[in-house]
Amino acid sequence: MKSKLKVGIYGLTGCAGCQLSIIFNEDELLDLLSLIDLRAFPFIKGHNLDEEFDLVFMEGLVASNNDLELLKKIRAKTKILVALGACAHTGCIPAYRHWTLKEDYEHLLYRKDEIIKDQEPTPIDAHVKVDFVIPGCPPDKQEILNFIKDILNGKTPRPYNNPVCIECKRNYNDCLLIKGKLCMGPITAGNCNAVCINGGFECWGCRGPSGDANYTAYINLLREKGFSDKFIKTRMKLFAGLKLKTEEAFDDKDKLDILTCTFC
């Protein structure tokens, strides 16, 4: 008999929401656990073995030297490393610090022990090779299950590149862009079943850019609708700023542009 897939689930700096998205598969969790060898999951396990892994889900972004150390250590022992959720994938909201004026957050910097050193907030692929991404803030629970099923069945999971709008139309939602909301559905990768728009809320782009996003056309559309460049930029950078190549679409240079981050 083939030995079970050795799995680890870890969190760097983050909110634990992505790890919860695995646990919150309440009906499937016990069956899933019987199919894998869950060697490490410090969030809910006291004994964690980290000798070697076939598959690791990594939540969170790199925001301290501790994060970087753990990430590198685990990467070296892991065959398939998965960036789980927006922080690991794009840096999510904490990475918006790249476009925040230092004077707005500097005073919040506490004196710290030697062991904790702040690091530029960055997604994990800025530091190590990432094999797959399960995007989203939070990631879709079903997508996580489908991913594990694919791996167990020897299939290669494929990224989903279509924009949110496709599923949104399928769900017969009213278009929030037409209703005057800054909805990022047209330029954002879907496979979330347009969950925010189903709930009445516009897409903020947490799953990162779709495969064929046309930023210039999209930004011009937003300008026509009367949104200011400042508002557009802020919104576009909040969840996936480090993954959107939007600079060429803006021609004015206000101070937010001057703070172009190191990874753009």
């Binding site: 969190g11 760097l12 700096t13 983050g14 909110c15 634990a16 929401g17 992505c18 790890q19 919860l20 646990i23 919150f24 309440e26 009906d27 969790l29 016990l30 656990l33 999951f41 410090p42 969030f43 809910i44 396990k45 006291g46 004994h47 972004l61 790199v62 925001a63 301290s64 501790n66 999510c92 909201i93 904490p94 610090r97 925040t100 707005d104 957050y105 500097e106 919040l108 910097l109 506490y110 004196r111 710290k112 022990d113 062991i115 904790i116 702040d118 690091q119 907030p121 803030c137 939070p138 629970k141 969950v195 925010c196 189903n198 709930g199 009445g200 809320f201 903020w204 802020t234 909040l238």
Partner: protein, 426 residues
Amino acid sequence: MTHTINLNHITKIEGHASLYVEIKDNKVMKCRLSSIEGSRYFEGLLKGKHYFEAHEISSRICGVCSCAHTVAAVTAMENALNIKTTKQTKELKKLLTLGERIRSHAAHLYFLALPDYLGYESALAMLPKYRKEVKSALRLMKLGNKLVKVVGGRDLHPVSLTVGGFLKIPTKDQLIELANDINELQPDAFATAKLFGSLDIPDIENDCEYFSLHDEKEFPILEGNLISAGSTFKQSEYLDYFKEYHEPYSTANFVVREDKSYLVGAISRINNNYNKLSKDAKRAITTSKIKFPSKNPFANNFAQAVELVHCLDHSIEICNELYPRQENPIQPKLKASRGLAAIEVPRGILFHDYTLDKKGIITKANIITPTAQNLKNMEDNIKKFIPSILHLKNEEKINLEIEKLIRSYDPCFSCSTHFLKVKWDK
């Protein structure tokens, strides 16, 4: 003889933390509990954002209590902009908060706390012998998630609540279905309370102030004064009473009252609001030796289990009494203003405090989480507790007892800004 306890990366808690203790001649000389999360500077990121963006951003502070941050941010903005929300909005906000409390308590009790008491490393390791209990936990978590999803549109980081009301309102049919689901799980909640009321806990007394909200109408969720056994004050006075400070060894804030640590959470809520508990919840308390008001920090687990019973009862009441109608969120008149909301969330009182300019842009944000308030008290109690367990001699056993104490607070270190790998130096 001096020796140290050094617990790097404590497991089975939310977030990352470590503990350092120095002991000399059976006396604790130094004790420091630190969050070792990377800093995310949420209050800095909120500056310059619009009033209607704060809840979507601050929700990301914590996945476990994303509804809490959403509701607190929205309510603070409503208070700033003088929006009087409808009764329906208030009831739906409560349902969202109750759903989150149910799933959070169920997850903490069974997945993080219980394994310690039954002698397992995790709930997963308990499966062969305690499958029934683990399944009960999963059912309760599923119920909490369903409540959150129906009301909030998504089970983590809810989307349907906005400043002034809800963007999408559940139907009566959905509420009836929820009420039926809750009804089915009431025995699970009661069994949880019986189980946690029967666990052997160390007999220690934590002589501090136990703070919670106090609402004349019901067991506190969204409003009320701040009270403890000896004091009462208004929410707006919180900064006069609670002081935040930073310790150099932690990325989290510490909060004290009159230089003394205090405690928030389920145990404080029950200590201060016993009369407002549902009948079932009061009946659940009678099954245990633990009585309220309790000063034993280990009793917080039982308090959470009692709250589970209460939260199911309260949720069913809202589902039965609410006949939802379509209403749009109320649009505010913008003005320079300041708004505060203190609400009860799974781990205690959560404060969101925003200052807005005349265009509704955030110029200052102050967020104080329950774990930040409890950190100092945790430290104080670890200090007091350690001498009573040194006779155990075995390092593993001592560490386990310390971890049990820490976990009974249900700390959430993401919020305040993982747990215990113990290193002993002798």
